[in-house]
């Protein structure tokens, strides 16, 4: 088990420094950022209690080589999806600023991170504030080697993901065969005018606990507004939103659709079937019930053998090692979660296809 290769669906490479970022910007933002730094949105909650793991060399986190040694080599990664750090653009109201920052970040990571190791793959940043420009950015970068996903922010948008507002972006992602990587944007959640569906959370603890509620709402929005009927080959990964709520949502969507089908008449299949075919969940932070067999039951309810993929969230505070998956899941399921499901989802060559002919398959 220890030698099975890992596909990690969520790694947070550091942001460039102000001086590094400025080199990738044109005016007027070049001078603005040199003078004032990037613009800020803060949800007014004490997120510093989270942050990064405290045992890492903080001064080294800006160096991609440190990620190679502390993560890729240490855990025998085959593939690590870089999703970056997003606070300066998620929910920011000025679309031109956001577009400039996204372009600069994407170019910076393509220049400085991807060449360091072939195992690094990039989730590109786009401004959901401006779908037309977002489409141009996706088209600009889709053919860059090691660009493997498009990043959405789950928690800092006022328009739910099932809205037709996003159709141009979904069309581009489907056409260019890039999955969408949906991740929280906790620091800027306040741009939703509420950090939970009930209103503002008072603490990061409360906001972080309630984060899956955004995912429930976004999945219901996408399914019940027919996104996967309109874009049947669109792939979506739900990152850091938890897993245990999914059975409830599947049951409830299916039960109510039977009665209220006329309100989603374009759906040709049961809601849960779209989830199975188009959506994947990631493990981190793995839920921790008192009894491990309860987690096994949840995994069986959602067909984890096909729908769940591993993510570490390195270098963040709620990072999960690959060994965090409970053994009760069984070796076959654990291997599918650590590697095989993501291998299929990202359309990578299988391990068997990678092994030289007439050789023993080296699972390390």
């Amino acid at each position: 088990m220890d030698t099975y290769p890992i596909i990690d669906c969520d790694v947070h490479q550091s942001s460039p420094t102000k001086d590094q970022l400025v080199e990738y910007l044109e005016e007027p933002y070049r001078t603005e950022i040199a003078r004032y730094g990037t613009r800020k949105i803060a949800s007014g909650i004490r997120g510093e209690e989270g942050g990064n793991r405290r045992d890492l060399d903080a001064s080294a986190l800006s160096d991609p080589h440190y990620f190679v040694s502390a993560l890729l080599d240490r855990y025998q990664h085959r593939f690590a999806l870089l999703s970056g750090v997003t606070a300066s653009i998620a929910g920011m109201p000025d679309p031109d600023y956001v577009n400039a920052i996204c372009r600069a970040l994407n170019n910076f990571y393509i220049d400085h991170w991807l060449p360091v190791d072939k195992r690094f793959h990039l989730g590109i940043k786009i401004g959901l504030q401006d779908p037309a420009t977002a489409v141009h950015e996706i088209e600009r970068l889709a053919d860059v080697p090691q660009v493997s996903a498009v990043c959405f922010f789950a928690t800092a948008n006022r328009i739910p993901f099932g809205d037709r507002y996003y159709w141009p972006i979904y069309e581009a992602c489907q056409r260019l065969d890039l999955p969408i990587h949906i991740h929280p944007s906790t620091g800027s959640t306040i741009t939703n005018a509420a950090m939970t569906p009930a209103g503002n959370a008072t603490t990061y603890l409360e906001s972080h606990v309630c984060m899956p509620q955004f995912y429930m709402a976004q999945v219901a929005s996408m399914i019940l507004n027919g996104i996967f009927e309109k874009f049947p080959n669109l792939r979506v990964i739900l990152v850091e939103g938890g897993i245990s709520w999914m059975p409830h949502l599947l049951w409830r969507m299916n039960a109510e659709f039977k009665a209220l089908r006329q309100q989603a008449p374009f759906l040709k299949r049961m809601p849960s079937e779209y989830v199975r075919d188009n959506i994947r969940l990631t493990t981190q932070p793995i839920e921790e019930p008192e009894k491990a067999e309860q987690l096994l039951q949840i995994f069986n309810m959602i067909d984890a053998d096909h729908t769940v993929m591993y993510a570490s969230d390195f270098p963040h505070w709620d990072f999960d090692e690959p060994t965090k998956l409970p053994r009760i899941l069984g070796e076959s399921t654990i291997r599918r979660i650590l590697h095989d499901n993501a291998c299929e989802f990202f359309r990578l060559p299988s391990l068997e296809a990678q092994a030289p002919a007439n050789s023993v398959l080296q699972l390390n």
Binding site: E49, G50, R53, R54, D55, L56, W317, D318, F319, D320, E321, T323, K324
Partner: protein, 117 residues
């Protein structure tokens, strides 16, 4: 259990932590406000190197809306990975949960740090 010498007192200044291997295991000794604490370098949650965590002084509040105090007399170590809090003296978690860090009796004698391991 036996008293084992680890390192010299000079190697552990106030506010510091020093690791020491004992066979396959590793312990960390902390010096906080003149007192010594010895801890097995293993977090019971997910196996993180607990001794690399920060020292904190816990906040407690008697009742919602009540007064909040920070207990400077009670150092805790926060796991560097998931930030769980453990009392350095007792090893107990600050949340009412069973997992605890392993602590050892520790003393300083003749310029050397000893633990009962």
């Amino acid at each position: 259990m036996a008293w084992l010498p680890l390192f010299t007192s000079e190697e552990l200044p106030e506010g510091g932590m020093k690791l020491h291997s004992l066979g396959k295991r590793e312990v960390g000794v902390f010096r906080q406000q003149g007192k010594l604490y010895a801890v097995l370098n293993y977090c019971p949650h997910a196996g993180a190197p607990i001794c690399l965590g920060e020292i904190d002084h816990p906040i407690t509040t008697d009742t919602p809306g009540g007064s909040t105090v920070r207990d400077f007399a009670r150092p805790v170590v926060r796991c560097p990975w998931h930030h769980w809090e453990f009392d350095l003296q007792t090893g107990k978690a600050l949340c009412p949960i069973a997992p605890r860090i392993k602590t050892y009796p520790v003393r300083e004698e003749k310029g050397r740090i000893w633990i009962d391991f």
